[in-house]
């Protein structure tokens, strides 16, 4: 019997060592700043540690505490509420904007694209400060406008619901253009011949939109939904700048990431913060999976 000699993996790598040497910086950095922290946080989540002093092994009690931690679950609820309030209008508006940008009769398309995208690169801290003045309870621009049309001013930052609307509006403002540009790229990839054929077959505008545009855009929509989900689940700077670390009145604007930050870096409960981050990981993974399934089916 002739046995073919298969070279071992390491021999193969050694043969191409120069190539591997050149790509190694990324992997080394990823190992140090990516892989190591992930596993170290898992290790920490089984300990109680203030950063200084000794780590004490506490087994699963951090997770046990987490399950009964009303503040954490409130943060989870808040995060989902903000996600719901922001992602649906945002993706809807983004699609409409992309559709308008894609109209053949539109002149100066790139100017509009830049305009819509510029909101995404604005400093988020500046955005939060502007929104704070707009939605301020007693001296805000929004309340001034409401009073002009005879509506009693609303205490935007005192109400648990309105505060989420304010945060969601910041997210929409910042990411609507970003998603519109992505949709636009998708729209431009749809072959013109399909539309022409549909027109010849006598399809009207609505039919064209729902039978051709939407189905062919589905992979792009799926992408934006998943990215938006992951992004909204990790929302942090908006509530922190707008409401402070406490998350505002009654913690109505406390999000999961803000809670993790508070526990880790303000309360120096590094073990518990690690446990929170792992809980977040599980929640985000599950939720993304559900979204993926739903959007694929639709």
């Amino acid at each position: 019997m002739l046995r073919q000699h298969k070279p071992s993996l390491w021999a193969e790598i050694w043969k191409k060592r120069t190539l591997y040497l050149f790509i190694s910086p990324f992997f080394l950095l990823f190992a140090v700043f990516g892989v190591f922290p992930i596993f170290y946080s898992l290790y920490l989540s089984f300990h109680s540690w203030s950063g200084l002093g000794d780590k004490t092994f506490v087994g699963l009690s951090q997770f046990q505490y987490l399950l009964g931690d009303a503040e954490f679950w409130q943060a989870v609820g808040n995060t989902f509420a903000i996600w719901f309030l922001s992602s649906i209008p945002m993706l809807f508006f983004a699609l409409v904007i992309a559709f308008l940008l894609n109209l053949p009769s539109l002149k100066g398309r790139s100017t509009y694209q830049t305009m819509f995208f510029i909101t995404n690169v604005t400093s988020i801290v500046a955005v939060a400060i502007i929104f704070e003045t707009i939605f301020s309870n007693q001296y805000g621009l929004m309340n001034y406008l409401l009073s002009l049309i005879g509506i009693t001013p609303l205490e935007w930052l005192n109400s648990g619901f309105l505060v989420k609307v304010v945060i969601a509006s910041m997210v929409v403002w910042r990411f609507v253009g970003y998603n519109a540009i992505i949709y636009l790229a998708g729209l431009q990839n749809i072959p013109k011949t399909l539309y022409e054929a549909a027109i010849i077959d006598g399809a009207n505008k609505t039919q064209i939109f729902f039978r051709i545009t939407i189905p062919l855009l589905r992979p792009i929509i799926l992408f934006t939904v998943i990215m938006t989900t992951i992004g909204s689940m990790q929302i942090f700077t908006e509530p922190q700048i707008l409401l402070g670390n406490s998350g505002g009145v009654g913690g109505a604007g406390m999000t999961m990431t803000l809670y993790m930050y508070n526990e880790g870096f303000l309360n120096n409960q590094f073990g518990y913060a690690s446990a929170v981050s792992w809980a977040m990981f599980i929640i985000i993974a599950l939720f993304s999976l559900i979204n993926w399934k739903l959007v694929q089916k639709a």
Partner: protein, 415 residues
């Protein structure tokens, strides 16, 4: 040939991180100092460099909110600066006194008489007596009030008279009711602010020196009830700290506040339209302190002797005067407090010499113990206060919730 090239480039890489000592002259030890903007006067640091020519002072200004996080990380890593400025949270590190140089081992005991006693004790380990830092500035509190609005409301306007009438928080609340009835103006911006200030006037806070929880004790209860009473009388303008409060102060919607000396600058920036209308007098309910910073030397320092000497110099009475004149840091050295240079009449306060009030306040602050977890518990109680103020939460329910959360937090600390 290729091998040689590879060897050459690798050794070049390795050696780019080597540091070669300067070729000429002996190198001076470098002392690093961490501080944040306006926590020390840059001029004073420059003068310190002149006073210590045999070392190089590398002063690094570290920005904003990350300061404490960065210090904590440096302590965890065991590689921090030599000298470190700390805000009033310095007391949290008493529990980790071994991370800092015990300044008493370096003759700091001879300086004790030169500084305010309560300020000195705030960073001294009650068990071992170890002193982890020296005082920079302090934040004595006093009553800021609008003389014109007080006059309109039929209240006294001169600082002495106001102080004579508003002796206690109960008197203050009575005046608030009168203010509301006659002018419609709120005496208080929120209830969280008075709540915090009542606590700052008392020696007991959330923990006793031995670490026992006393957040359900008399001191906190008194502060809580006072704040709740302000709420129930409708005397709070229910404002969020920051831009809202600033707008209200400038617009004459809030007539007074008990605040620390460093808030004077904030007030002047926030309410420029009200210049000349404000006055300052001793606070109802007694003198207190809110804020103020410290400076210490880390145990990981390789040049402890030099670092301690520079630290002492930076907070010496003369340096403190310069800190005050340059960046308005209110002194903690008794000799500096007596300086005539502090006593400039201030046009924002109708040419009142406000330093007189704050100096008296600073001398009468009760010594107090914060404990490692003060910040956390302050947040728990404060959050409930906010709910009472803005969302009309039932005060009794809020107190129960605060105690419940505190107990839960305690269960975790004791682990």
């Amino acid at each position: 040939m290729r091998r040689l090239f590879l060897f050459f480039s690798v050794s070049l890489l390795v050696c780019s991180s080597c540091q070669f000592a300067p070729m000429s002259g002996e190198s001076k030890p470098v002392i690093t100092l961490w501080y944040w903007n306006r926590s020390l006067s840059d001029d004073v640091i420059a003068k310190a460099q002149e006073a210590f020519p045999h070392v190089t002072i590398d002063a690094q200004k570290i920005g904003g909110d990350e300061y404490k996080t960065k210090l904590h990380t440096a302590l965890i890593a065991g590689r921090g600066p030599d000298i470190v400025a700390m805000n009033d949270w310095a007391y949290e590190y008493i529990a980790y006194a071994e991370e800092f140089v015990n300044l008493l081992d370096y003759g700091a005991d001879q300086l004790e008489q030169s500084y305010l006693d309560w300020k000195w004790q705030a960073v001294q380990d009650p068990e071992t007596g170890a002193l982890i830092a020296l005082p920079i500035d302090t934040g004595p509190t006093a009553l800021y009030y609008r003389a014109d609005l007080f006059e309109e409301a039929g209240l006294p306007t001169e600082p002495d008279e106001v102080h004579a009438q508003l002796q206690t928080w109960e008197d203050y609340i009575e005046a608030g009711i009168q203010m509301k009835e006659t002018t419609g103006v709120h005496m208080f911006e929120s209830i969280t602010k008075p709540y915090l200030q009542v606590i700052e006037q008392q020696s007991d806070k959330y923990f006793a020196e031995d670490g026992t929880y006393i957040g359900d004790g008399e001191a906190i209860q008194y502060a809580w009830n006072t704040a709740v009473r302000i709420h129930e009388e409708g005397l709070s303008a229910r404002l969020t700290e920051g831009q809202e409060v600033n707008a209200a102060l400038n617009g004459g919607d809030v007539a007074s506040r008990v605040g620390a000396v460093w808030e004077s600058q904030i007030l002047q920036d926030a309410a420029p339209d009200t210049a000349g209308k404000w006055r300052v007098t001793r606070a109802p309910g007694g003198d207190g302190n809110n804020g103020g910073s410290f400076i210490g030397v880390l145990d990981s320092s390789a040049h402890k002797d030099e670092a301690v000497a520079i630290t002492k110099w930076l907070v010496s009475p003369d340096a403190q005067l310069d800190h005050f004149l340059d960046v308005n840091l209110f002194p903690s050295a008794i000799e500096t407090l007596e300086s005539e240079l502090l006593r400039e009449p201030d046009p924002f306060y109708g040419d009142q010499v406000v330093a007189d009030v704050f100096v008296e306040s600073a001398k009468n602050v009760p010594p107090t113990f914060y404990g490692e977890h003060y910040g956390k518990f302050r947040t728990i109680f404060n959050d409930e206060m906010v709910l009472i103020d803005r969302a009309n939460k039932n005060p009794e329910k809020a107190w129960e919730d605060a105690q419940k959360k505190a107990q839960r937090e305690l269960s975790r600390i004791d682990q």
